[in-house]
Amino acid sequence: MSPGFLRHFLLICQFELTRLFFTRKGLLYLITFTFVWCFILFYPLRYTADILAQEKNVAAGGSLLDFMGWGSLLHWHIPTLAVYWHFALIIFPILTIFTSADQTCSDRERGTLRFLGLRASRNVLFFGRFAGTMLSHALLVVITLLSTVAVTVYQDATLFASAFNSAAAIMVNLLIVLLPFTAMMAVLSTTVKSARQATIWAILIWSFLAGIISLLSVYLPALGHLEVLIPGYQMATLSQLSQWQAIQLAYIPLLQSVVLLSLGCWIMHRKKL
């Protein structure tokens, strides 16, 4: 990696963060996100955590959550973070699909990528935009986690150390989970003309790929392993694991990300700017 690559990479990441915090569109997104998050934090998250705390006193196997298949929530030390983990595994990947869809497509259509392409290589543009988008996700994850920890500690200050440990585990695992989703959107962004097209394609690919693989595996069970190609394939298993246990499955999203980013980079080199 040349010093020029690193310098350009950091500049592009920084510019992507500016897009989130200092542009009208980015600020609108942040304000909407904050309102939605406050609602989730103070209503569903807090009340579900209260229910969870009551369920912990029920004998093992006899809980309503065990009956619903959510018994893994009881393995967490802090109920609020247990609920956060389950919420986050649904909300953040969906949010990622929508917010990461425009990594390069509208800039290519507008011709802005040409101005950038004169000053930075295609590799650095692709990876810089991807990393910048991931950094934006990371910031939102950290903010939501800190607010959840704050609510937890406010209720019971003795949970401070334990809450930070759980929050760190959630942050690392959640960011690993989001990697292939962001990479998938980076790939789609290199091929389509708008963010809307990228989002539609993402939904189509996820539903069709899952459907086709399920259908084929009926006739040839070995093909069922192809499900590993779908970002989020491990999510059902992941939700059953608590805190640092979830890292066991990190290899799946990491491998998916490597494959998707390599594909995206390959496409980026073959497309006109």
Partner: protein, 307 residues
């Protein structure tokens, strides 16, 4: 002239099977001011796109300053005005120019100074804090030209730089090019042949994806015959041709378009043909608008071959 800065050999490029460039070869040296001309769809924008690295690698050899187009080593060395490219509407022009300057290696402080300098060069320094979508077409074009001037690029590729600009700004852009041309190499694609005739020392002609390099001789010196191009006020065509034809040393007189005449003559017989022609105009009480030595670029390139 020293080492060539652009070496292009047997370059071909096609869009989904349709050839845009076929076996194009040329070499350019530092400091040259080159015009790229040709009809619509001839491949001019494709060639500039390949040189800028906007298009994926073609077949053939294309090397700029010893590197493939789009290489990181060319950042800040090669600059371009891409056709119809727009800045990001989410950021102000100043923010984007500063970012481009930073990518070219300037510090944060230098990048602000540089952004103001290039905007000032196109008389748009007031647009520093404006968003690109608030600009008119002509202003957006000037801003796009300004981004091509950031830093000290050694090669600037301009695709239709003056199309859509008013005469004052066209003149301004022309003077910027002339001012930079001793140290910066320019390739200018344009349909304005008068503009290119004024600016360029060398012309690359593209037709149907094929390139030729006409040997232009601005005034027609060092040749057996010379030309005078004359723009007249409305006058009797047959009479004008007949009278000019009678002048000593005239080989041929033609009228390629309304009120325009080209006088081909032998300088060994009559060296001061311009004076003879003017005398003839006065004697016949005709009016003329412009008299110039040689043929226009349009005539040289597209009619009657070279001199």
């Amino acid at each position: 002239m020293s080492t060539p800065i652009i070496q292009c050999h047997h370059l071909s490029y096609s869009y989904t099977g349709k050839a845009a460039l076929s076996d194009v070869s040329f070499t350019l040296f530092a400091g040259e001011l080159v015009g790229l001309v040709g009809p619509n769809g001839a491949g001019k924008t494709t060639l500039l796109g390949l040189l800028s690295g906007f298009l994926p690698a073609p077949s053939g050899t294309l090397v700029l300053f010893g590197h493939q187009p789009g290489a990181a080593a060319l950042s800040g060395k090669v600059s371009a005005l891409p056709q119809d490219a727009k800045l990001d509407p989410a950021f102000t022009i100043g923010e984007q120019f500063r970012f481009y300057a930073r990518l070219q290696g300037l510090t944060a402080k230098q990048s602000t100074t540089e952004a103001i300098r290039v905007l000032d060069a196109v008389s748009l320094v007031d647009s520093f804090k404006q968003k690109p979508d608030t600009l008119s077409h002509g202003m957006a074009k000037r801003v796009a030209i300004a981004q091509a001037l950031i830093g000290s690029p050694e090669l600037i590729l301009l695709d239709e730089p003056t199309a859509g600009l008013d005469p004052v700004n066209t003149r301004n852009i022309r003077s910027i090019i002339t001012e930079l041309s001793p140290t910066t190499t320019f390739i200018i694609s344009s349909h304005d042949l008068t503009e290119l005739d004024r600016l360029c020392q060398k012309i690359l002609l593209l037709e149907n994806g094929l390139m030729s390099t006409p040997q232009l001789n601005a005034a027609g010196h060092n040749t057996l015959t010379r030309f005078i191009t004359l723009q007249m006020e409305p006058s009797p065509v047959a009479d004008v041709i007949e009278k000019f034809q009678q002048l000593k040393g005239v080989i041929q007189v033609s009228s390629p378009q309304k009120n325009e005449y080209i006088v081909q003559y032998n300088p060994d017989i009559e060296a001061k043909m311009d004076q003879q022609v003017l005398g003839c105009i006065v004697d016949n009480a005709w009016q003329y608008r412009q008299l110039s030595q040689g043929k226009t670029l349009e005539e040289k390139l597209f009619f009657n071959g070279n001199e």
